[in-house]
Each structure stands twice: as structure tokens, then as C-alpha cells.
Symmetry: C2
Subunit: 217 residues, 2 copies
């Protein structure tokens, strides 16, 4: 697939068929993740590919109450929306509710873990949340999402299960001091699947030479 | 370009020509960034596109001493390498030294900033470094890197300048409470440019159902 066409249509796909993913397809999307950059090329992440049905159910059982709590807050925060924005939110919530109740239906849940000792973190101690550890993980995740799109597989980047990290570590036998960073359910789309994205226009996202500055004359 | 071909050859390109990047090319690679996913589709990041020569020199002057300190530590830590691994390290360090001394030569430095108030961070308070804020930034950065590859532009994801965040905020007039996440110098390759990656084999990077478990039978 053409790179831009893949990027332009890689949206969250949250309704999956239970059909299995062939090994050769799975291998291609996972290998694409390995091509992502990491600080000092340390590759401090691994993926635990959860296919076991009992473990997928266990992840769903951890996810569902976290999602119910989060979605309640999200509804409160977005109460002011009206018209098309509200309709969009409701469609998203409908799909996300479905995902939470059916997380175990996706044939694969790709769990990204990272080695706390080998992260290049340059934004600690700045008096605000640190994000730079993610620079050695989420480029690989994005490669995986794009590769899934390329193969016709639906998926979505989730991080809520980090809140249940202790239970996930026990379930997937993750050694100390590895930690969890992302959970990507993957499956063949059961509904509309890929398509156009809802994003702000570039003018509001990129500036020239200073924050708020015009990018192009 | 084909998606997998782009991913497979998107390596760090640290030697750039000073030639400017046409507006239409720049617009395409920046727009690709906007297609990245973010938590709750909040899009809590922006890019300050630094083209002004004096500001690029100022960023270089901040970067160079940070790089000199970091590279000294990196040399110490990798002192045990021999043979091809040592040669690879030395080639990387040579290119990175060049970048540090010539950061202002790259016609564009894309500075990713984020709104601390609008990050969905689900891994706080776990007694280990938080990374999840990065899930709403670095997928966009990876899209930018891949789009540059697609256009023949070289670039590299750097985060060292976060250590000089206070100075960067003053230089680029970044309002409170926005913070810095990534600095991507972009330019036409002055040397070999894109090509094959050095990565661990998939077998060591992905496991089946538990950490360390075999992925394929």
C-alpha cells in the first residue's frame, strides 16, 4: 500500500471478527514494529502477543471496569458538545464500549512492555509529566498500527490497562523491572473498518519559528 | 512509496545539505504527522517549525554541550564492544557528532511540544518512569519520520534538547504550560541517506502469551 494512503486511513478500528490471524500476516505486522527507532537503538521494548483465549478474557475482565470509570469521566468532560461533535463522540463511545465488552473477541492482543533500566529519558526532573521514555516505544507501536492497516487488519492503541499493570505482569509472567506501555487488540474489521480521519487542520497544528507563528507566508 | 519499503529504510539520517525544503513538501510531511493517533483524539501536540537561521544556531548552541556530555557517557557504557559492533558504534557516533556541530545546517528543525493539561496519562504513580504521555505524541513523530523518507528527506528523532527545555521555551515563545517532547532536524541527505536498518530479529522481540514464550510453533 502507498504510505500516505495507509496513514490517511489508519483510524481506530474497535469491532473485530473472532477469525484468527495467519502466522505470516502476524509476522509481517510485528516485524514492522521492530523497524521503529529507539533511543541509542537500544530497542528496550518487547511485545507479548496474547492469543490464548483465557488470557484474553482475563485482560477483558481487567479492562472493562477501568473503561467504565474512564468513560464516565469522559462523558462528564464532553457534556457541552452538541450536534455533529456530540454525534461523533457517541459513535466513538459506542465502539469503545463494544471493545471493552468484547476485548477477548479480538484474536490477538499485542502487549508492549519496556525495560525500565534501558530507557533514554531526557525530561525527568522538569516539574511536569515525563513523556520521553515513550519516544523509544510508540514509534514501534505506530509502525504496528500502520502495518495492520496495510494488511487489512483493524486495531487501536490503548493504554488504560497500564492502570492494572500489577495484574498484567502476573498474568503474562513479565519479569522485574519490565513495565507495560500499550495494549493493541488486533482483528479483521467486523464493521466499516478503515477510513478517513477526524483531525484538526494543519494550520492549527504547526507553527513557523515560534509558537503561534504563521507557517507559510 | 510502498509502506513496508518506507519503514524498512527509515533510518536516522544525520548529515544534511543546507538546501531549503519546498513548502509543498514540508506541508505533506507535517500533515502526515497530524494523522497520528492521540488519546481521546485530543491531539495535544503542536510543531514549531524552526527555519529561522538565528534560532537554528541557538538550538545548536544548546544541543552541542548536551551531546558532548551524553556521548561521553555513551562511550563509557559501550567500551566493551569490539569488531563490527564497535565499528558500527563509531560510525553512529561520527554522524551524531557531525549532527551536533551542524544542527543549524539542517534547513528545518521540527520541535514537537505538548499541552501538559490535555495528556491522557494512565501510568502515573506506579513507582517507575511514566511513558504513556508519549502515546499521544510519538505516533505523530513516527508518521513525520516516515513521510520524510517518502519525500527523500533525511531526519532523526532527538530528545536531548528537552534537558534545555527552559531555554527552548524562551527561544520559541512557547506558552505555559506547554512542554517539549522531540526535536527532528530535517534536510536533504548529504551522505548515503536512507537504507537498511540494524535491528534485533523478531524472535527476540516478540513472545507468545507470556514474556519469553515462543511466538510460533
Amino acid at each position: 500500500m502507498d504510505l500516505y494512503e495507509a496513514m490517511r486511513t489508519t483510524r481506530a478500528v474497535r469491532r473485530h471478527k473472532p477469525d484468527p490471524i495467519p502466522d505470516d500476516v502476524l509476522r509481517r505486522v510485528l516485524e514492522a514494529a521492530t523497524w521503529g527507532p529507539t533511543g541509542g537503538n537500544a530497542q528496550p521494548w518487547r511485545i507479548v502477543v496474547v492469543r490464548d483465549a483465557a488470557k484474553r478474557r482475563a485482560l477483558r475482565d481487567l479492562y472493562l471496569p477501568l473503561w467504565q470509570e474512564y468513560s464516565k469521566e469522559y462523558m462528564e468532560a464532553s457534556r457541552g458538545l452538541t450536534g455533529e461533535a456530540a454525534a461523533k463522540r457517541d459513535r466513538m463511545l459506542g465502539a469503545a464500549n463494544h471493545l471493552a465488552a468484547h476485548l477477548d473477541v479480538s484474536p490477538v492482543i499485542a502487549v508492549f512492555v519496556f525495560d525500565v533500566r534501558r530507557m533514554a529519558i531526557t525530561d525527568e526532573g522538569l516539574g511536569r509529566p515525563s513523556v520521553v521514555g515513550g519516544a523509544s516505544i510508540y514509534p514501534a507501536v505506530q509502525n504496528l498500527l500502520l502495518a495492520c492497516r496495510n494488511e487489512g487488519l483493524g486495531c487501536v492503541l490503548t493504554t488504560l490497562l497500564c492502570k492494572a499493570e500489577r495484574e498484567v505482569i502476573a498474568l503474562l509472567e513479565i519479569p522485574q523491572p519490565w513495565a507495560t506501555a500499550a495494549f493493541v487488540p488486533i482483528g479483521w474489521p467486523a464493521s466499516k473498518g478503515h477510513g478517513p480521519l477526524t483531525r484538526r487542520a494543519l494550520d492549527g497544528m504547526a507553527f513557523g519559528d515560534r509558537f503561534g507563528g504563521a507557517l507559510f507566508a
